[in-house]
């Protein structure tokens, strides 16, 4: 009998790994308007890294589409808006909703702000930090139907307690982060957490997902 109890306990332990932190968001407005398509505008950038806006922009299509939504081609939209007198994300975020409805035909617009993006250095370590705030607005009514914010960092610590080893590790990590733009990989995790995997934030499934209508 003890063996059976042990099995039960191990099952409980595995289940706890999927536990949801915090209450789920209020989906009332989302359910009412339930969009099929999402127009993602290039994010506003509050960080000091010039790459931040477009690095984040290039990470959002996949999680949004895998959640079951039609996502307008982000680079094409950026170019299209630039050619139509909106050269910066700031101006794009001012686009009137009736124009979006008429010209692009999107159901909803995703407004993103990159609050933080880049590598933070301390004496012994460096960490890539990315924070993104998102707001989904229904194009027909102008109503905010969902919002979320996620901050993640990739601590490049080698995990060793030895100070000399940590310093060497830190130097190596800083070289690596500069050459591969470590923040971009963190941005990918931020986007998938924000829209797909983090239970306290994520979107409801969209019409192209097999689980549409079940959540």
């Amino acid at each position: 009998m003890r063996k059976i109890t042990g099995l039960f306990l191990s099952t409980v332990f595995i289940l706890s790994g999927c536990a949801t932190p915090g209450p789920p968001p209020d989906y009332t407005a989302f359910r009412e308007r339930h969009p099929r398509s999402i127009l993602v505008l290039p994010p506003l950038n509050e960080s000091t890294d010039l790459k931040a806006s477009y690095s984040v922009l290039s990470t959002v299509s996949k999680p949004l589409a895998e959640m079951g939504y039609y996502v307008f081609p982000v680079a094409v939209i950026d170019q299209f808006l630039k050619e139509n007198g909106m050269p910066t994300p700031g101006e794009m975020h001012q686009i009137p909703l009736d124009k979006v409805d008429e010209i692009i035909g999107a159901d909803s617009i995703l407004y993103l702000v990159v609050n933080e993006y880049g590598t933070k250095y301390t004496v012994v370590n460096s960490a890539a930090v990315v924070q993104v705030t998102a707001r989904l607005v229904d194009v027909k009514t102008g109503e905010r139907i969902w919002s979320g914010q996620v901050k993640l960092w990739d601590d490049a610590s080698g995990g060793s307690g030895d100070l000399v080893a940590m310093l060497i590790n830190s130097a190596i990590n800083q070289v690596i982060s500069q050459s591969t733009d470590q923040s971009h990989y963190v941005a990918e995790d931020v986007s998938s957490c924000l829209f797909m995997t983090c239970p306290s934030e994520r979107l409801l499934y969209g019409p192209y997902h097999p689980a549409y209508g079940t959540d």
Partner: protein
């Protein structure tokens, strides 16, 4: 094997063995199913998102011809895997063809995007009309 083990222990009842086997099966099923639904991707993404990233952050790698080559290869892989292309992929490719002056291929790609995702119809029709204007 199970019988020998049963005999050696002597105390485990047949019902208990059945229970253990059932639990093992449930546990295995649970582990196989994974925590999150939708672990399998709906689409074959290939290089689409890295093309978007390169367009802005690594422009040397993102010439139209370079991007087209990679995306055409992605289409073949998607076909071999039997997975659909993601939203925006065909429109992005169509835009690249358009930049190269390949108006027929651009129109075909925009039509294909519209076919796969009717949500894109208003924008794709606009692009197609624009091409007709340039072509004339």
């Amino acid at each position: 094997m199970l019988k020998a083990w049963n005999l050696a222990n002597g105390t485990l009842l047949m019902a208990e063995i059945k229970g253990v086997i059932l639990l093992f099966c449930l546990l295995a099923a649970f582990l196989l199913s994974g925590c999150a639904t939708g672990n399998r991707n709906l689409y074959h993404w290939g290089s689409y998102e890295s093309q978007v990233y390169n367009t802005y952050c690594e422009p040397d790698e993102a010439s139209a011809s370079n991007q087209i080559e990679k995306m055409e290869a992605d289409i073949e892989v998607a076909r071999s895997k039997g997975l659909p292309l993601p939203p925006g992929f065909r429109a992005h490719l169509g835009y690249l063809y358009f930049m190269q002056g390949k108006y027929d291929l651009a129109t075909q790609s925009f039509e294909a995007e519209k076919q796969a995702f009717p949500e894109s119809a208003a924008l794709m029709n606009r692009f197609i009309t624009q091409i007709k204007g340039q072509d004339a």
